[in-house]
């Protein structure tokens, strides 16, 4: 790979390795990677896999911060490897580890079963308030109605917010920041009619009240989603539901 070793710069990449069939526990392994200023951490890992050590495992796909596959801890911070550049580690060394708070499947690959199970439960799709036939045409929405939820729809399920959330780390039953952002994305959509159903999850013991308003989730989001805001809005709404069910005539209460 002559073109990447052209300018003679080399960075030491410390990678957390774990191969369950042969390693007792995860350990750091260092590689010297020649790089140019336009190379991402992901490209550094690809260099390792192609030229130094073919046994290294990591997830990636799009290389452009939209697939959400390459989330990892880079020097202790949850980041996308494709959106983080090797030139930004002037000390000449960078540590790359599997995302915090998740079980490691192998090397930098984590198990996301917990997140996927939660994602299914919130029904992350529009359940129309009123069914329309084809003849009735499309579901219309004003720009103002779009503004209410649009930022939350940018979530790419990369799980950086989960690695950032100390409460998820302490209690993995907590539905967590990403799920709350997605739940809010559908609840806040003017075309959707399933908010009551989803609020059962937001207001449950696994729901929003596990959050202690740390806000790091919103800081690490590579797509500028604000999960902390989604959680806060739903704390208010869940508290409203909790008290209002006592005065509502019937239904509602559970």
């Amino acid at each position: 790979m002559a073109e990447t070793s052209g300018n003679g710069k080399v960075i030491r990449v410390e990678v957390l390795r774990y191969r369950p069939e042969q390693d007792e526990e995860p350990f750091l392994q260092g590689y010297d990677v020649p790089f140019t200023d336009d190379m991402s951490v992901l490209q550094g890992l690809q260099y390792i896999k192609d030229w130094l050590d073919g046994t290294l495992s990591f997830r990636w796909s799009c290389r452009m911060a939209i697939c959400g596959s390459c989330g990892m801890m880079i020097d202790g911070e949850p980041r996308l490897a494709c959106k983080t550049f090797l030139r930004d580690f002037p000390a000449g060394t960078v540590r790359v580890e599997a995302l915090a708070h998740f079980p490691i499947e192998r090397d930098l690959v984590i198990r996301m079963d917990d997140f996927l199970a939660k994602l299914e439960r919130i029904k992350p799709y529009i359940i129309p308030k009123e069914e329309r036939t084809l003849a009735q045409g499309e579901y219309l929405q004003t720009p103002a109605q779009l503004d209410v939820y649009e930022q939350f729809s940018s979530c790419i399920n990369c799980l950086l917010c989960y690695a950032a959330c100390p409460q998820y780390g302490l209690n993995p039953d907590f539905v967590g920041p990403g799920i709350m952002a997605l739940l809010h994305r559908y609840n806040a959509d003017s075309r959707d009619g399933a908010a009551v159903e989803r609020m059962e999850i937001a207001g449950s013991e696994a729901g929003v009240f596990n959050c202690t308003a740390v806000g790091y989730c919103s800081e690490v989001c590579p797509k500028h989603v604000d999960p902390a805001n989604a959680v806060n809005q739903n704390k208010t709404r869940a508290a409203g539901d909790y008290f209002l069910r006592l005065v509502r005539p019937k239904g509602g209460a559970k």
Binding site: D114, A117, K118, R121, P166, L170, P172, D173, V175, E200, I201, G203, S204, E205, A206, G207, F209, T212, K235, A238, A239, Y242, F243, K254
Partner: protein, 122 residues
């Protein structure tokens, strides 16, 4: 993943916490200034601003009673909720006993405040 259908009772405590936090933000600093700095050092306020007869009259007026009650009770609910959650962050996880201790203390202070405010008369 555990089933997540049980409705959380947190809104009760979160509501008291929120109300106390709002009140603490609005009144806390000025109360510290009046009771801790201005009156003892006779700054701005007259020396007898918190004298016994004045404070007794304040506590005997219905508006003074109300203010004292919400300030004492809600500050306490706010503080105990915050302490409970900070302990959780420090690795001391809230079991039933710890919850009873924290919220129980807040309830005790609330009832004591109410009792004293009634006892000072009208």
């Amino acid at each position: 993943m555990k089933p997540i259908n049980r409705r959380s009772n947190a809104p009760v405590f979160w509501g008291l916490f929120g109300a106390g936090g709002m009140l603490a933000a609005l009144f806390g600093p000025v109360l510290v200034f009046i009771t801790g700095i201005a009156v003892p050092l006779v700054l701005i306020l007259p020396a007898d601003a918190m004298s016994w007869p004045r404070m007794q009259a304040f506590a005997q007026h219905w508006a003074g009673k109300g203010l004292l009650f919400v300030v004492v009770a809600l500050f306490m609910w706010h503080a105990m909720h915050r302490i409970l959650h900070s302990l959780h962050d420090l690795g001391v996880h809230a079991g039933t006993a710890l919850k009873f201790a924290c919220y129980g203390l807040a309830l005790l202070v609330t009832m004591t405040a109410a009792w004293i405010l009634v006892a000072v008369g009208f």
